[in-house]
Amino acid sequence: MTARTLRTILPPLLAFAVLLGAWELVVRAFGITKLVLPAPTAIASAITSDWGGWLSAARVTGEEALLGFLIALVVALVLAVAATSTPAAERAVLPVVTVVQLIPVVALAPALVIGLGFGPAPRILVAALITFAPLTVNAVVGLQSVEPDTLEVLRSVHASRWEILVRLRLPMALPYLVAAARVCVGLALIGAMVAEWQGSSEGLGYTFTRAQRSLATERMWAAVFVLALMGVVALAGIGLLERRLLRWRPTRVRT
């Protein structure tokens, strides 16, 4: 580990250590029961005592979130390309996106379970619905962010719509999509987990509700922490992808 990476990761690590330490201290000093707030050490031991269980639960939820995100990404790109091609399509697409954005998707989960059964389908759908709006809006803005001059240079040699899409619009949209993906990581994970509260028999959401029934608050907190950790890993992955794909950007977004 170089001195530079140490300098980058040390401050946030210290901040987390201070935060958790204070939490632990408060719980012990005031004798707070675990029903009110479990100590970080209790949460940690809930995780370390059952690695296998947490890992398989995380995998279930992670797969649902990822699948939902990918479905939303494909739909968003198709809609954004349509919205970019004609003004009428743009006027048709954007209000739909706005309405979907305003639906409390998480509250819809119980209804989706009735419709789609107890398999992973309703959870994937919730993750897709919750990430759909930010992905579509960013895709539309990104595809339209091309400079008129650049567009005219391509049109002056009669480049096809497809050529303009692939060689100009999609690369222009990439930074916007990466930014949207950052927002969507958390949303998709939360959506999948909350959807698991209803009628599921696996995943972090299921672990969460089962722990709730036995008042095992440290396990409930542990489920939330595992979900947050998955988000951190996913964001790091996006950061790597960004550094590879967007090397051409003059000011790289810091991760």
Binding site: E152, V153, V157, R167, W248, P250
Partner: protein
């Protein structure tokens, strides 16, 4: 046989926005023979850029016809007759200098061939890089270049296909004065074939390129062009069509000559008249 001539017959353009009509271009007749360097000058909003876009087929006229090399602007575009240099460099930020210059050659591959590309003499990208003085920067990305260097890339890109008609919309307006002057002479040397570096071997038979060059600089217009068209304020019409018979190749010292000053005076007078002042 079609040549690089541009012919406009009664071309008019009206812009409609929120029910409001703006006559951008009055019915306009224009005949530019192949190989002529024509500068278009006029007050802001007089339709100079509109004229350029009508020729390129990027806008449709509301009346009249445009023909380039005997065909419609659309046909000319499909056959890759145009090299367009807009006001901004309009480079793809993720492509290197080499990649940006080569870009247009990768697009619409069928177009020129289907229509017989005998008019196209593509220039080697490496040759162009040397011509515009970008050796050593082949792999640089646009954001690593200065504004002048970026515009050199845009210039090279327009020449890359060997397109017989160059359309330029105030390409040097955003540059500083010294760079602008450099770019003007660079453009002239590439245009008349003198810019070919020795390394490229014997010059191929040079085919004169028709140039339509929009500018708001009187000096630039007189220095570059064979002919200066002065447009009036909106709706644009030709108030003066002035031949510039200064000898070529043009050099910087000519700008101090009596003939040069005489031409600029004429252009200025026509501009005033067109602006109604």
């Amino acid at each position: 046989m079609a040549d690089g001539a541009i012919v406009l017959r009664g071309v008019a353009k009206v812009f409609r926005r929120r029910g409001e009509q703006t006559n951008a271009l009055a019915p306009l007749d224009l005949n530019i023979p192949e190989g002529q360097f024509v500068a278009v000058i006029g007050p802001s909003g007089c339709g100079k850029s509109t004229l350029l876009r009508l020729v390129a087929g990027l806008l449709e006229p509301d009346a009249g016809t445009v023909s380039v090399a005997g065909q419609s602007p659309l046909g000319a575009r499909q056959a890759k007759w145009f090299g367009l240099v807009p006001q901004t460099p309009a480079l793809l930020p993720w492509r290197t200098v080499r990649g940006n210059i080569g870009l247009l050659g990768e697009l619409n591959r069928g177009g020129a061939r289907a229509r017989g590309d005998s008019h196209l003499v593509p220039v080697e990208v490496e040759t162009l890089i040397a011509t515009v003085g970008l050796q050593g920067f082949e792999s640089a990305l646009p954001h690593e270049l200065s504004g002048g260097m970026q515009q050199r890339v845009a210039l090279a890109r327009a020449f890359a296909l060997g397109a017989p008609v160059l359309l330029m919309d105030e390409p040097f307006a955003a540059l500083d004065e010294l760079t602008r002057e450099e770019m003007r002479f660079l453009l002239l040397s590439v245009w008349d074939g003198r810019g070919r570096p020795a390394a490229a071997g014997p010059a191929e038979p040079h085919r004169p390129r028709t140039v339509l060059f929009v500018t708001h600089s009187i000096e630039e217009a007189v220095l570059l062009a064979d002919r200066v068209l002065v447009l009036s304020a909106r709706p644009g019409r030709v108030v003066a069509d002035l031949p510039i018979d200064l000898p070529r190749p043009r050099v910087a010292a000519q700008a101090d000559s009596d003939e040069f000053v005489h031409h600029t005076r004429n252009v200025r007078a026509a501009l005033r008249q067109g602006a109604g002042r």
